[in-house]
């Protein structure tokens, strides 16, 4: 801490310290703690709060466990998010590799710029563009009708449609970390492996992928977190015919807050989702042996 005073003086150092701590406490730690605390209490009218009924219990979590529908949606959210993450990784790896190792000069710059464009078109519009393709009057149905493959428009909604929308919306969160990690790989290493007789598969398995580990980990963590926590994508894709059964866990949480008015139950569900994400982050980091510092890259 003395370093801080030495650099900025008592007043400046104090200001830096206070600002950073206010951010940590008021915006991050206290709100999360209050949410967790709320999740262990019953939903009471304002007058009864702090009264004899206001005791800590696991009732809200038990309710999640006891509700087969909510439980099913919870598992489906996890399962689909894992699948979205894996798909995004498979789709992105060749592109990131090409961009980082094979493309050069103006071509590399052009490709990188082309990636940035859909990245800044917002999530809702990106999802909407796929909604239009899958809709009753959408491109897929028009095409199949025109070719005479089908007689009636297909109902293309459902979990699959939500996942298509998500892979599309989140590939770029996978591709940039991968690209960053792969860019620092010395091309000579690949050349050396090739000269020593390694096949293309072997080069990727033994040289490129080990080097890309931090990027893979960060990309997977970001994509999984976005997929599990998304509200926009399922909300839009549900308007497709046949899409009403594709509910997402975040939507149940939302309805507890704004339709049911049970913030306590909603907090418990939200905390369950947060725990899930924390477990996924820790497991991925352990698996790929990377630390939190690598996120920054």
């Amino acid at each position: 801490m003395s370093e801080l005073w030495r650099r900025f003086g008592r007043l400046g150092g104090g200001l830096v310290l206070a600002t950073a701590l206010l951010w940590a406490l008021l915006l991050i730690v206290l709100p999360q703690l209050l949410m967790v605390e709320l999740s262990f209490r019953p939903n009471l009218p304002a007058a009864a709060r702090g009264g004899p009924e206001d005791v800590l219990s696991l009732a809200n979590y038990a309710a999640l466990w006891a509700n087969p529908l909510h439980r099913a949606i919870f598992w489906q959210t996890i399962w689909s998010s894992l699948l979205v993450t894996l798909l995004a990784l498979l789709v992105c790896y060749p592109v990131a590799f090409h961009l980082a190792q094979e493309a050069r000069g103006t071509r590399a710059l052009l490709l990188a710029t082309a990636l940035v464009i859909p990245f800044w078109v917002n999530e809702i519009l990106r999802t909407f563009s796929w909604f239009l393709i899958l809709a009753r009057n959408g491109l897929v149905n028009r095409l199949l009708l025109g070719l005479g493959v089908i007689e009636e428009p297909l109902a293309l909604g459902g979990v699959g449609a939500v996942m298509i929308g998500m892979v599309y919306a989140y590939v770029l969160f996978m591709i940039f970390p991968l690209y960053n990690a792969l860019e620092s790989l010395d091309r000579n290493q690949i050349e050396a492996a090739r000269d020593l007789g390694a096949s293309t598969w072997r080069i990727h398995w033994r040289v490129v992928i080990p080097h890309a580990k931090p990027g893979i980990a960060v990309g997977c963590v970001m994509t999984f977190m976005l997929a599990a926590g998304t509200f926009a994508v399922p909300q839009i894709m549900q308007s497709l015919p046949g899409g009403t059964n594709a509910r997402w866990f975040t939507q149940i949480i939302y309805s507890y807050f704004f339709d049911g008015g049970d913030w306590n139950r909603g907090s418990a569900y939200a905390f369950a989702l947060l725990l899930l994400c924390i477990v996924f982050v820790m497991a991925t980091m352990r698996l790929f042996r990377v630390g939190l510092r690598d996120i920054a890259k």
């Binding site: 801490m1 370093e3 650099r7 900025f8 003086g9 200001l15 830096v16 310290l17 950073a20 951010w23 915006l27 991050i28 709100p31 999360q32 209050l34 949410m35 709320l38 060749p94 090409h98 710059l109 490709l111 710029t113 082309a114 990636l115 940035v116 464009i117 800044w120 078109v121 917002n122 999530e123 809702i124 519009l125 990106r126 909407f128 563009s129 796929w130 909604f131 239009l132 009057n137 959408g138 491109l139 028009r142 293309t200 963590v221 977190m225 926590g229 509200f231 926009a232 308007s239 975040t250 949480i253 939302y254 913030w263 907090s267 939200a270 989702l273 947060l274 994400c277 939190l292 920054a296």
Partner: protein, 291 residues
């Protein structure tokens, strides 16, 4: 054909497919914005029209995006929130980065984890916890203010990472030299630190605004009865589907393409400058005086 040639062909094919996957949906969306069809679709093509930007239907009712007052209000709110997020996130991120670069102990690792954690937390949860905290502790309900606070929770983390990356290349001896030579702490910050951080401050402000502008998941929980551009778009997509939504898409894409081209041109010029002058500009300026 050799194995490597085959591989190259395969890569080219895959890249073409990937970029088609990335861009075709956006192309369809843009095309539908100019289709006279009442529904947002590219097929069947019923003729070119601009009525989804500005125009009237057969009964004289306005159909265009630019005639929608609610849209304008939502856009204004988004801009206000974005400005607020810049004003809050940039100083928070800067303070976090300066604090962390001054710490050495185990405390540093812990504080770093806390300050980066919002990036790894789902947006809906940041929104929920912000809403609960301000509602229960200060009786502040959802609205523009809470949207600024909720979004800044994680946007400040992004700003902090930008500052930390820049500070890694900072020569701390400059700071010490200034202090040793009798500069006050304020002078050192104003003359040495802030000028060095200027590019990072600008990019942090830009990123903060863009992140805020397109945020949905967090905003949804803290916005209360107000409207922002993204919330408005989501409502339109869900309820009243007319191609006016596509018109918004066209504007978004046009703005992004322009920004991307500008960025690419700047990058190319930067690369060209570096190639011509391997010596840093600063050293060059000093060189004649030394010689």
């Amino acid at each position: 054909m050799s194995a490597r040639g085959l591989l190259r062909l395969f890569t080219a094919l895959y890249l073409a497919l990937f970029f088609a996957y990335l861009f075709l949906p956006l192309v369809f969306m843009v095309a539908a914005a100019f289709n006279a069809s009442r529904f947002p679709t590219m097929l069947p093509w019923e003729g070119f029209t601009l009525q989804w930007f500005w125009g009237f239907d057969a009964r004289g009712r306005p159909t265009g995006l630019f005639q929608d007052a609610r849209m304008a209000a939502a856009l204004w709110n988004s801009i206000l929130i974005g400005a607020g997020v810049i004003l809050l996130s940039v100083p928070l991120g800067l303070a976090g980065a300066l604090l962390l670069t001054s710490l050495q102990s185990r405390l540093k690792g812990f504080l770093y984890a806390v300050l980066v954690s919002p990036i790894l937390t789902p947006g809906v949860i940041l929104g929920i916890s912000t809403l609960i905290f301000w509602q229960r502790a200060f009786e502040v309900g959802g609205g523009l203010f809470l949207a600024v606070v909720g979004q800044s929770t994680f946007i400040a983390s992004y700003c902090m990472l930008l500052f930390m990356a820049r500070l890694e290349r900072f020569d701390r001896t400059l700071e010490e030299a200034a202090l040793d030579l009798g500069a006050s702490h304020l002078q050192m910050v104003r003359r040495i630190l802030l000028p060095f951080l200027r590019p990072a401050i600008l990019s942090a402000a830009l990123i903060a605004f863009l992140q805020s502008f397109e945020n949905y998941n967090t905003t949804l929980f803290v916005i209360g009865a107000e409207d922002t551009l993204t919330i408005n778009i989501a409502t339109r997509v869900r309820l009243g589907l007319t191609p006016a939504v596509n018109a918004i898409g066209v504007l978004f894409i046009a703005a992004t393409v322009l920004a991307a081209i500008g960025w690419a041109v700047l990058r190319r010029r930067e690369v060209a400058v570096r190639r011509e002058r391997p010596v840093p500009a600063r050293a060059q300026r000093l060189a004649p005086a030394a010689g």
